[in-house]
Assembly symmetry: C2
Homo-oligomer: 321 residues x 2
């Protein structure tokens, strides 16, 4: 990995990870005229910041892989417009960062690119009005609900970059156990997380204890409990090494986020900031990053459909495999 | 390529390519209770049909790459739910088929998978009410507008499959020349098509005359004219070998589609049906498939933004490179 960068909003900047973000923006509009434009501006800035750290111009990137939660993934398309690098648009909901990193690693591995960026974002205000209610309603929130993070993360990968390295990628299957409560994303996504983690452990020959940390993003407290239970049925324990990005980013006691954080930008900003810092400092040497996504849309939920979940996993190691 | 399959709606089944679709469905609902569910059912059927032709169970696919136009790409997520194969969700608007094929080829080339599917869909009714107006309004349509195809296409790729082979992939850059007329997608996307075609020709060392056919999808008549003009400025002519999937799929004189067809399913169903048949029969030996997408959303257009275009190109050849 050449470099990483993260940008976060005010609420995230008041949380326990505040010193790991490259920038904390107090203005929810990021100087723009709408929340959607704000999200694009934030994501663009994050990518450009990662490029500057690696002394690389955005137009010299071989590929940018990105996606977000907005309809037609407009957040990332408008963020990357004009940067001049080939763009590969993804939709994996909150699993997007792992999906982008997995494909970026594949593109480098096959020799298609030397420098490839993976990036994603979410914005509380743009997500809230698109998926839930206009913010002006001041709706009450379910205790199992998660708070969409205003934040973004970008990683720049290169064939000859310094550690940590991406050593293995497991793309997930869609798992739908019939959860229809759109405020309970953790429950909808936990079965997919369990499926992908078990497949990753089986395919790699390494169990959970191989890793210093197994990060999910973002199951929240509710989903994390369900994941532990589901893995327990298979005799797998993540005890002591499981961290959920949605749990790390806020102070649950103080910040009124109910079950924790969510949104593509949650796991992306936690990975690009906190996790990469702990890996660079040597505190963590092997990390499994398993980002989870809920693949419903407001339309499918209104039509009575349950919520399909997905989880993609990427392992980072200080030493090449 | 192991196999291909295409399914189309009634209007497409009355067009000039009717004998190349595997199935033409007269019911716009495909037996479902909503147009969105219909689109998923159609896409799922198309993928399963491609699998059957290759005597392959969907769950034995190493990856399915898919996307569509619906918010949160719900069309493809719900189509692939329960199929049991790892799923990589994409958003490239109408360029999705080329994006999916490009990544599928990369995943096979790097050795990550033996059998990989690329699939996408669009549905006139679900697209119309999401992007434009409720169908019940019976809105008048601009003469430069395109008609969203109800159709889907799937290709199954394998390392050791029979010809045609994917020989080269060029992922496109986002190009935005400031077009804001959302009924004129062809004009918005043509500059991206020109950019990607020129980059593809330069990188491959082969000019347009190397190919029996250069297919864009979908610029319509308006966009195709602009593409010819833009390429002409660079001294490149596609004369005699340019076909636009949006032009091929309907009989423009008889079917009242204004500038032609559009939608992810347009280029995908034309490729999976007509183009693959002409390649299998030996009529075409080298085909460049350049699918174009418009990356705006209804929200960005309402906020006054112009329309970013993108084009990904994939070359198919009867002989391996």
């Amino acid at each position: 990995m050449l470099s990483s960068a993260s940008v976060a909003g005010r609420k995230e900047g008041e949380g326990p990870l505040r010193r790991y973000f490259d920038r904390i923006e107090q203005d929810a509009y990021f100087g723009e005229s709408s929340w959607e434009k704000a999200e694009s501006a934030m994501l663009r800035e994050t990518l450009c910041l990662a490029c500057r750290k690696a002394d690389t111009a955005p137009e010299s990137l071989d590929f940018i892989l990105a996606g977000d939660l907005l309809d037609q993934c407009a957040g990332s398309a408008f963020a990357m417009r004009g940067l001049g690098a080939p763009f590969i648009g993804l939709y994996g909901a909150c699993s997007t960062m792992a999906e982008a990193l997995g494909l970026a690693a594949v593109l480098i591995d096959v020799g298609a690119g030397q420098k490839v960026a993976a990036a994603t974002s979410s914005h509380f205000c743009s997500a809230e009005r698109q998926f839930r209610f206009p913010l002006e309603y001041g709706s009450l929130r379910s205790p199992v609900s998660q708070w969409t993070v205003t934040g973004s993360g970008a990683l720049l990968l290169a064939l000859d970059g310094p550690p940590p390295y991406i050593t293995r990628v497991t793309f997930g299957r869609i798992v739908d156990r019939g959860v229809t409560d759109t405020s309970n994303m953790g429950a909808a996504m936990a079965p997919a997380a369990a499926d992908t983690l078990l497949r990753h452990f089986a395919a790699s020959g390494h169990g959970a204890d191989y890793y210093d940390a197994v990060l999910t993003g973002d199951l929240g407290r509710t989903g994390s409990g369900i994941l532990a239970e589901l893995l327990g049925f298979e005799g797998v324990s993540l005890a002591g090494r499981h961290f959920d990005c949605g749990g790390l980013i806020y102070d649950a006691g103080r910040q009124k986020v109910n079950s924790g954080g969510s949104g593509c930008g949650c796991s992306a900003s936690v990975l690009a900031g906190y996790v990469m810092e702990l890996m660079r400092s040597g505190q963590w040497k092997r990390v499994l990053f398993a980002a989870t996504g809920a693949l419903m849309s407001p339309t499918t939920s209104r039509q009575g459909e349950s919520i399909p979940g997905i989880c993609h996993a990427v392992s980072f190691e200080a030493e090449a495999a």
